[in-house]
């Protein structure tokens, strides 16, 4: 996947996570809805943040086959 796609996805996930958290705190949406949103978007946010710099630098490789 290209870099800009990952970055867009990360920013979107960031907005959703923070938004869901804030809305849950204020009481705009229920606990269940907050939990559901966080469950789906927290992993995306984590992976996206970690991939922000590193994605796409290496070439495909064969798996590790032992020595």
């Amino acid at each position: 996947m290209e870099k800009w796609k990952v970055q867009t996805m990360t920013i979107a996930a960031f907005i959703v996570v923070i938004g869901a958290w804030a809305a849950g705190l204020v009481g705009l949406i229920g606990q269940g809805a907050t939990a559901a949103l966080l469950v789906v978007f927290f992993p995306v946010l984590c992976l996206g943040m970690m991939l922000w710099w590193t994605l796409g630098k290496g070439e495909d490789d064969l798996p590790f086959m032992g020595y």
Binding site: L62, P63, M65, G66
Partner: protein, 219 residues
């Protein structure tokens, strides 16, 4: 609706005549998970399996034909659909039907594999799956005969509930279709290539087991 203590309050029911499928937080989680893995089966391309040539440094990729993979994907999607239906079924007989459908689908997922070892395991699994339908349907039949109903809601509202022997028969049946002590065949089936499809084998049987625990605690 007396199952609240086990799996939470039902929040949505989908009636098909007498067969009412219901969603509690528990069944909804299971349903969602079956759906997720069915989607992965549909969208994901299978991996290419590598193997080491024994005694050397060389390795080779196992070749798999597209036709075979198409059939296996079809079977795993069927398996996913049957699992989803069994997860939310609110009727004992309907549940047993979908469990046995999962058993047939699992054989289908590995039937196209050209490895003798996997096929041997599938054959043994198939015999067990077929035998297991007898306790399954027997349990449902005894339930209907002694309580006069098959609906899980009605059974859980009853004082007497499902007779012990019916419960035992159903759990033995699900054990045969699913996992429990009969892990050897499942583990051998897993050696087949095609990760997304092979995983469906275990997704379905584990979800079955989870659902049957809930049903037996409820009724």
């Amino acid at each position: 609706m007396a199952s609240a203590g086990v799996a939470g309050e039902p929040f949505f029911a989908l009636p098909f005549g007498d067969i009412v499928n219901y969603f509690t937080p528990y069944t909804a989680v299971l349903f969602g998970f079956a759906l997720l893995f069915t989607l992965i089966c549909i969208l994901s391309r299978p991996e290419q399996q590598l193997d080491v040539v024994f005694g050397t440094d060389a390795y080779y990729a196992k070749g798999v034909t597209g036709k075979e993979l198409r059939f296996r994907r079809f079977m795993s999607i069927a398996c996913g659909c049957a699992t989803m239906a069994a997860m939310v079924s609110g009727d004992v007989f309907n549940f047993t039907l979908f469990v046995s459908m999962v058993g047939v689908c699992i054989i289908g997922i590995v039937a196209a594999v050209k490895s003798r070892h996997v096929l041997d395991a599938a054959y043994n699994y198939g015999i067990i799956a077929i035998v297991a339908t007898i306790p399954l349907f027997g349990g449902a039949a005894i339930t209907l005969a002694t309580t006069g109903t098959l609906s899980i809601w009605e059974l859980s509202a009853m004082a007497s509930g499902m007779p012990l022997i019916a419960k035992m028969l159903i759990i033995v049946g699900v054990m045969g279709e699913g996992i429990a002590p009969f892990y050897a065949a499942k583990a051998e089936l897993f050696r087949a290539p095609g990760a997304p499809y092979v995983i469906m084998i275990h997704v379905s049987s584990l979800l079955m087991f989870l659902r049957v625990v809930e049903i037996l605690l409820t009724v």
